[in-house]
């Protein structure tokens, strides 16, 4: 059992860099751009989770399924009703938000009423929901992977030597817009203030007349909608299949913790950070340990900055 087993995969990549000089910088920059693009998508999924997990303290394991349903429903719409992608995008987000609303109304609200510890029971109920959604969509949509017809040509968009798919740019643009919209609505609007009040102290919030049930259902629906947006945006880029959500959930939790609970901007920056780190690791260290990086970063953050990289340190 040689001790070097750990490092052997890195050697060829490191030698490669020294040899190629200038070309290396283009490749490095391309890798960073790759990281930013996938990071944007991570951010959107995490942004949805940061409202539910971060603000409502519900460990939402069904978040991946909202992402998958966003893609599946968008695919269904393009196949049947009206094949315009943008209509399908909007329609699937609304439908998944309705599903999120129902899940909150039927399950989470009842649990909250029993006053049981929401963190743990919330995790279990959402695991049940995730198993149910995953396998029902397997029944309805079948195991055949779906591809939403992309409204843009597959010709990559050229910025100097860097190549970026057109659909990616659209997805990144929508991501930033949606997140800023959500961030603005939480910071500035009345409902946003009510949300923040409820999650500071729900008893006091209800004392001052905030209908906390409405706030909870709006937060959950917003979270589901954000995840669905990511799913619908990724439909044309990556193929959507019933288990697509599983791989995404753990990454989203990692980012929410990195960005700071309930911190929208944190989720965005956390998503980009994880995207770039993973892309660089798999390019220059080794693909196998790509996911390891995410886990190690979270542990470091928990030790040194428990309120997240970008969160304010909470007073004890």
């Amino acid at each position: 059992m040689e001790a070097g087993a750990w490092f052997r995969p890195c050697l060829p990549n490191l030698i490669l860099i020294r040899a190629k000089g200038r070309a290396v910088f283009i490749i490095l920059f391309q890798q960073i751009v790759n990281g930013l693009i996938i990071g944007g998508i991570y951010a959107l999924i995490a942004a949805g989770l940061t409202t539910i997990f971060g603000l409502m303290n519900v460990v939402n394991f069904a978040h991946g399924e909202f992402y998958m349903l966003g893609g599946m429903v968008a695919f269904l719409i393009t196949q049947t009703l009206w094949s315009n992608y943008f209509f399908a995008l909007a329609a699937s987000i609304t439908i998944v938000m309705v599903i999120g609303f129902l899940v909150e109304k039927i399950l989470i609200k009842r649990l909250r009423a029993t006053g049981v510890d929401l963190l743990v029971t919330g995790a279990l109920v959402t695991i049940g929901v995730s198993i149910f959604f995953q396998n029902t969509s397997l029944l309805i949509f079948g195991s055949i992977p779906k591809l939403i017809p992309s409204p843009f040509s597959t010709e990559p968009f050229k910025i100097g030597p860097i190549l970026v798919g057109r659909m990616y740019l659209f997805a990144a643009a929508v991501t930033v817009a949606v997140i800023l919209l959500a961030h603005y609505s939480i910071k500035k609007t009345k409902l946003g203030m009510a949300m923040r009040a409820t999650f500071q102290d729900k008893d006091v919030a209800s004392l001052v007349g905030v209908n906390i049930d409405r706030v909870y259902s709006f937060t959950f629906t917003l979270g589901a909608g954000l995840a669905a947006t990511a799913g619908a945006l990724l439909g044309p880029i990556f193929v959507i299949y019933p288990n697509a959500g599983e791989r995404v959930v753990l990454k989203a939790f990692v980012i929410v913790i990195m960005g700071g609970m309930g911190n929208f901007l944190g989720a965005i920056l956390g998503g980009f950070l994880l995207g770039v780190t993973e892309s660089l690791t798999s390019a220059y260290i080794s693909a196998e340990y790509k996911d390891l990086i995410g886990f190690v970063i979270v542990l470091l953050i928990l030790v040194f900055r428990p309120s997240g990289l970008f969160g304010k340190t909470k007073r004890i």
């Binding site: 460990v59 963190l119 029971t121 995790a123 049940g128 929901v129 198993i131 029902t136």
Partner: protein, 315 residues
């Protein structure tokens, strides 16, 4: 004396379970029972952390995997018999539990949950990629079957009794601990940590002790699994197994001694006997999980008390 009556129930339970293989002939059901006992070891341990200390450790299958691989590698590479592999795997998993527990238990509630997921991820990736040690994704095959003086534990019935003895031992051990001051300290930490600290209970040490016992039991379960199925691969560390453990403890009845084992019994048989539902099997399983949590927050073990009390109220 109250303890007397529960002792009788305990003995009756063991006798019934001991006679079971004589009654049920089909190897398949005995195979399921062996899996139930292996899961019981996992679940009894997990219940200590989740039911008694009140912290949710979602990385519990990592220690199951450590137990599997330690026992398999010890018996294959060093040629030690199973009876050395088993305790060795238990101790190694317990040690990993100590090292990780000391770090993870600095936090509480959802930060602890995420920390345990991270350690699970790291261990899973190391098992998957350290090819020279664990054979990587190819896994390790023909792990020796346990034997006592030439008598091979080759049939399922042998394994049924072997695992049953250890489960009974684990139950006795946890029953003893939980009725002792250590058990009271566990409850104190769960109910109100600052108050427990103020009467001299170190929440950190008590939780670490519970964590070490739990991970050691998981290692033991791993060793049994490795030598029963004789083939292990990184997939034994899948998150779906963690979900089954969670379901068994919560719907069985967390914070009770026999609840999780009842949960293990029900939720190992249920998916098998739901096979007739073919495609609907997993959606139904998801629904049962949701119903269980919403209507039975305290778990199935409390069902008799619930029915009794409701029946009494009606009269």
């Amino acid at each position: 004396m109250k303890v007397g009556t529960s002792h009788i129930w305990y003995v009756i339970g063991i006798v019934v379970l001991a006679l079971l293989p004589v009654v049920i002939r089909s190897d398949y059901d005995i195979h399921i029972f062996v899996m139930v006992w292996i899961f019981s070891l996992l679940v009894i341990g997990f219940n200590l952390i989740f039911g008694y200390i009140g912290q949710l450790s979602l990385g519990h299958t990592a220690y199951f995997a450590i137990g599997c691989y330690t026992s398999a590698l010890a018996t294959l590479k060093w040629g030690v018999p199973f009876w050395v592999g088993l305790p060795f795997a238990t101790v190694v998993s317990g040690f990993f539990g100590f090292v990780i527990g000391v770090i993870a238990l600095r936090w509480r509630s959802h930060f602890f949950v995420i920390a345990t997921i991270c350690f699970w991820g790291i261990i899973h990736l190391i098992i998957l990629n350290w090819v020279s040690l664990t054979n990587g994704p190819v896994g390790i095959g023909n792990i020796p079957i346990p034997s006592i003086g030439g008598m091979l534990f080759s049939t399922k019935v042998h394994f049924y009794y072997l695992t049953l003895i250890f489960v009974a031992g684990a139950l006795w051990f946890t029953k003893k601990i939980l009725s002792s001051p250590i058990g009271r300290a566990f409850n104190a930490v769960r109910e109100n940590e600052p108050l427990a600290e103020s009467v001299g209970v170190s929440a950190y040490r008590v939780a670490t002790l519970a964590f070490v016992i739990a991970t050691a039991l998981a290692g033991m379960a791993g060793s049994f699994y490795a030598h029963y199925v004789t083939y292990i691969s990184p997939e034994i560390d899948e998150f779906s197994i963690m979900i089954s453990i969670l379901v068994m403890v919560v719907l069985g009845g967390k914070g009770t001694i026999f609840g999780p084992v009842v949960g293990a019994l029900i939720f190992t048989f249920l998916p098998e006997y739901l096979r007739f539902a073919k495609d609907l099997r997993l959606p139904i399983f998801g629904l049962i999980l949701i119903m269980g949590i919403v209507f039975l927050p305290r778990g199935i073990i409390t069902l008799p008390k619930l029915i009794l009390s409701r029946w009494v109220d009606k009269r």
